[in-house]
Subunit: 372 residues, 3 copies
C-alpha cells in the first residue's frame, strides 16, 4: 500500500501493482473440555495483481495460499468509464455489512466479528453496480452460486447497501448504513439425486487458532433466506466506535426461522492518530502512524474492545436446536509502520449450543502482519 | 499483452513480464434429464511470469488457480541462441493440432472444439524442437508421463507437426497443417500391483458450465495410440474459417480401435478487423479492435459459428460401446479493447452414448475476459 | 538472482523482487523389485515476492506449486534495524545443519543428502534471532507446530546454530559448525480423542523421481527429541568438500532411542571456478561461471561425488525395527549461465529395513534448472 511498487506504461493507460499480505499468528487456547494448547497458524498468505488496462478497465486477481490451500479472494473485472456508476464483474465482495467491506488489514482486531462472518454475504461471483456522492454511497449486486460448494450453497442472490454520513470532516465522521440481501438455495445441485438444500453455518468464534467447527449450526431443507443489516460508526479524533446488527429470516420447508446477531466495538489510538473514513464509498479505512518506527518515532498504539452476540437456530434430523455465542475481545495493536503491525488479542467466548453442554473458550494470541 | 508491464534490466539481457488472465462465466444449461439450471464458473484465473535471462534463455511459469485448484499450464525453459532451431524443455504445448496451439484468449468461442480437446496431445512434460521459414513451420517433440496421473496416463510419447502457408499476406492467409503423435501407455505405474492401462476420455462438450463427465468413454487395457491430425484455415479480411480432422488408432490388448472427430468454424468481424496469422509458426492470432472503446470507438464485434463431431469407441468390463457427439455453437463477441472481451455462446449438443439413452444439452452462456 | 528485476520506490525505502525457479527432472529408475521405469517430475516450480518496506522491514512470500500442489516455502517478516541482531518471524528455515541452509539452487547434486532431510529442523513457523561477525555466525530460534500436520507433528521446538571460519579469504575457506534443537511432540493435537504422538520418518533417498515412501520408519508414542549436528566444509580454488553428522535422541514412552546419519561430498569445478562462502552467516554459496554461454564461453562444468548413511530406529505395533540406508551419488553439472544449470545424477542406494528384504535402487536422472 505504498507507491513505487507499481509498474506503469508511459502513458499511464496500463498499470499493474503486485502486492501481498502476510498474517502469522501464535497463541495459546483453552477451548471446551480439552487442555490448554499452543498453536501457530499462517492466517493469510496472499499474493495478487491488480491494475488497469486501456485506462478505464480495472482488474484484480488475488489468492490466499495460507494453510497450503488455494483460495481465490478477488477475481474481477471492473469498468469505471461512466460518471454515475462503477461496474464490477466476477468474484468480489457483495454490498453487505460494514466490517465485511473493511479491508482485513484495517480491522482493529485479529478476526472480524462473529455476526459479520455469519450474516454478511461476503464474496460472491456476480455483477455489482456502485456509486455515491460526497456524503453517501449506494451499491446493488446480483450473483450466481458457483459449482464448487461454499457454505451457503447459493443458487442465486441479490443484495443492496446504502450508506449516509450526516457529517464527515477532518477526523470526525458519523456513518449510518443499511443493507439487505436475498439468497435462494433451492436445488442448487442435484447431482446423484442429492438435493443440496441443507446448510451448515460455521465459524471460528473470533479466534484465529480455534477449531474451525467450534461454533456450528445445521439447518435442513432451506429454500431461501432474507438478511437485513444495520450499521453505525462514529470517529472523533483518536476515538472510534462501530456497531452492526443483523437479522436473517430463513424460509425452510413449511416453516420460518429467524437468526440474529449484533456487535459493538470501541477503538482508541493511544498515540493520537485518527482512523480513516470515506463517505463516498461508506467504508472505514486504516491508521497511518504519525511517527513511524523508520522515521525516528515509536509507531502507533491502539486499544480495542469488542462485544459480539449471535443466535443461530438449527434443525437436524428433525430436532430443533438453539445455538448461542457471546464473545468478548480486547486487543492491543502496535503499528510499527504503515505496512507492519503487531497485534495481541485476548478472547473470552461463551457458547451455549443445544446439542452440547455449555462451553467456554479463552485464548491469548499475537499476530505479525505485513502488507506490501 | 501490452508493453509497459515488463521489467527489464538496463542492457535488456534480463526481462520478466508478469501477467494474468481472468475468464468468468455465467449461464443457464439444460442438460440430459435434469431441469434447467443457472451456474457461474471462474473458467480461468491465471497468474504467470515469463521472460528471459542472459539474453537467449527464456522461461515461463504460469498457473491456473480457477476453482481453487492449482494447475500448472506452462513450466518451461527455452533456448533461442541457435538460428535454425528453438529448444524448449519442461511442461508446454506439444506440436499437435491447430486450435490446441492457439492461445485461449484468441479462440473465437468460449471453449475449444471437442475433437481438439479429445485428440490433441495438449501440454506434456518434455523436450521440443521448433523452427520454420517465411511460409512454413516444423516442430517435433518427445515427452515422458509425469508421476501424477493425467487422463492420458502416458508412459512416453513423440510427435511432430508441419505447417505450410501457400500464401500469407496482409489480411489474406491460407494455412495447411499436418500433425501426428504416438503415445505409449503400457504399465505406466504399477504401484500397489495396479496397472494403469485403462483410459478415460472425458470432456465438457464445448460448454464451460456443463458437468465434467457429460461426455465420457472408457477403454480398457490400452497399450499405445497413434493420432493423426489435418488442419486448414483461411483468412480473408473480416472473414475466416478453420477446420480440423483427427483420427486416433488405439492398440489395446489384442485388438485395434479407431476413434475420430472433426470440426469446422467460420468467423466474421462485423466491424471489419482481420484475424492475425503467423506463417513461421503456423499459429492463428487474435483481433486488435480498430476502434477500441477507450479510443472513442465502440470496440469490435464478431460472429462465430462452429460444428463439431466426435466418435469414441469404449470398452468397459468387456462390453463395447459407441459414444458419439454432435455439437453446434454460435457465438457473438464484443472486444471492448484489445485486453477486454465479452462473449456470448449458444450451444446445442446431441450425445449418443451406448450406455445411456440419447441426450441433449443446450446452454446459453456469457463470459467476461480480461488479459494483462 | 540478477539485478534489474527489482522494482524500487524512488527513495529506495520500498522494494519488491519477483522471482521464481523451475526444476524439471527426467530419469530412469530401477527400484526394489519393480522393473525399470522412466519418469518425469516437475521438482520445483516456485513463485515468490520478497523485498522490504520502510527500509528496515523485510518480507518474503514464496510458494512451490510443483505437482499441482501448493506448498509454502518462506512466509516471513524480518527486521534488520538493529546492529547486533536480525529478527525473523513466520515460516522460515530454522538454524540447523549446513546443507539445509544452503539454497536449493546452490546444492551440487539434485537432492539434499538423506541425513540432512531426515535430521534437520527445516522450515518451521516461529521466531529466530541471527547475528555474527567477520568469521563467525550465531542463530537461535523457537517455533510452534502448525495446525496442519507436517511429518514431525511438533508441539514446539527450540534450536541454535554456531559457525566459525578459522580462515576465509579469496577462494579458500574452512567452515566449522555445530547445531542442536529440541522438539516436543506430546499431545500436539487431540481432536476427536486421537493423540498425534506417532511419527513417520520418510524421505525419497536422494532420488528425485523415486517413490516418496521408499525409505520409511515409524516410531510410536514419541514425547520429544533432541538432535545434534556437526558440520565442516573446506573450499580451496576449484575444490570443495563438505560433511555433516547428525545424532537424534528420541524420548518415547519409557524408552530412549538413538538415530544418526552422516554424509560427505566432494566437488571439483572442471572449469576452475570456486564456490562461494559467507563466513558472517556460515552459509555456502553458488557458482558464477567464468565464461557463461552468453559471453562467448561454454559455461562451467562441475563434478560431484557424495556418500551418505542413515540409521533410523522404528517401533510399530510394539515391534522394533532397524532401518538403514547407504547412498552413493555422482553428478555432473553444466552451468550454462549463472541462472541456467543442467544436472545429471547417477544414484546407487542400498536399503536394509527390518520389515522388508534388502532393496537396491538405481537411478539415472537429468535436470533442467532456471532461476530468475
Amino acid at each position: 500500500d505504498a507507491n513505487g511498487l507499481i509498474v506503469e506504461s508511459h502513458d499511464q493507460a496500463f498499470a499493474v501493482k503486485i502486492g501481498g499480505r502476510l498474517h502469522t499468528d501464535y497463541g495459546v487456547i483453552k477451548q471446551a473440555s480439552s487442555s490448554r494448547e499452543t498453536d501457530a497458524r499462517i492466517r493469510n498468505a496472499r499474493l495478487g495483481m491488480q491494475g488497469h488496462v486501456h485506462n478505464d478497465w480495472q482488474y484484480k486477481l488475488e489468492f490466499d495460499f495460507a494453510g497450503n490451500q488455494t483460495n481465490a479472494t478477488d477475481l474481477f473485472i471492473g469498468y469505471s468509464g461512466f460518471d454515475a456508476v462503477n461496474i464490477t464483474l466476477g468474484r468480489h465482495k457483495m454490498p453487505s455489512g460494514l466490517e465485511a467491506l473493511t479491508g482485513i488489514g484495517n480491522i482493529g482486531l485479529m478476526e472480524r466479528s462473529l455476526p459479520s462472518n455469519l450474516f454478511s454475504a461476503g464474496r460472491q461471483n456476480g455483477l455489482s453496480l456502485t456509486g455515491g456522492g460526497q456524503s453517501w454511497s449506494w451499491a446493488t449486486a446480483g450473483w450466481l452460486g458457483e459449482s464448487r460448494a461454499n457454505y451457503q450453497d447459493s443458487r442465486y442472490g441479490i443484495g443492496s447497501r446504502l450508506s449516509y454520513a450526516p457529517y464527515s470532516r477532518d477526523q470526525q465522521h458519523l456513518h449510518l448504513g443499511i443493507s439487505s440481501y436475498y439468497q435462494n438455495y433451492r436445488n442448487t445441485h442435484s447431482d446423484a439425486g442429492r438435493q443440496y438444500r441443507d446448510l451448515t453455518f460455521s465459524s471460528r468464534p473470533e479466534i484465529s487458532i480455534a477449531s474451525a467447527d467450534l461454533f456450528q449450526s445445521r439447518l435442513e431443507s432451506v429454500r431461501s433466506s432474507q438478511t437485513y443489516g444495520l450499521e453505525a460508526a462514529y470517529i472523533r479524533g483518536p476515538w472510534s466506535m462501530q456497531s452492526e446488527w443483523f437479522q436473517q429470516q430463513i424460509n425452510s420447508a413449511g416453516q420460518h426461522r429467524q437468526q440474529q446477531g449484533w456487535t459493538i466495538a470501541g477503538n482508541y489510538m493511544l498515540t493520537g492518530e485518527s482512523r480513516g473514513y470515506q463517505a463516498s464509498t461508506g467504508r472505514i479505512g486504516g491508521i497511518r502512524p504519525a511517527q513511524a518506527l523508520n522515521e525516528g518515532g515509536y509507531g502507533a498504539f491502539e486499544l480495542v474492545v469488542r462485544y459480539s452476540d449471535a443466535h443461530l437456530q438449527g434443525q437436524h434430523n428433525g430436532i430443533r436446536s438453539d445455538n448461542k455465542a457471546e464473545l468478548w475481545t480486547v486487543g492491543l495493536n502496535w503499528y510499527a509502520t504503515q505496512s507492519v503491525r503487531f497485534m495481541a488479542n485476548y478472547n473470552h467466548v461463551d457458547l451455549n449450543q443445544t446439542a452440547q453442554t455449555k462451553q467456554q473458550a479463552k485464548a491469548l494470541q499475537i499476530r505479525g502482519q505485513l502488507v506490501f
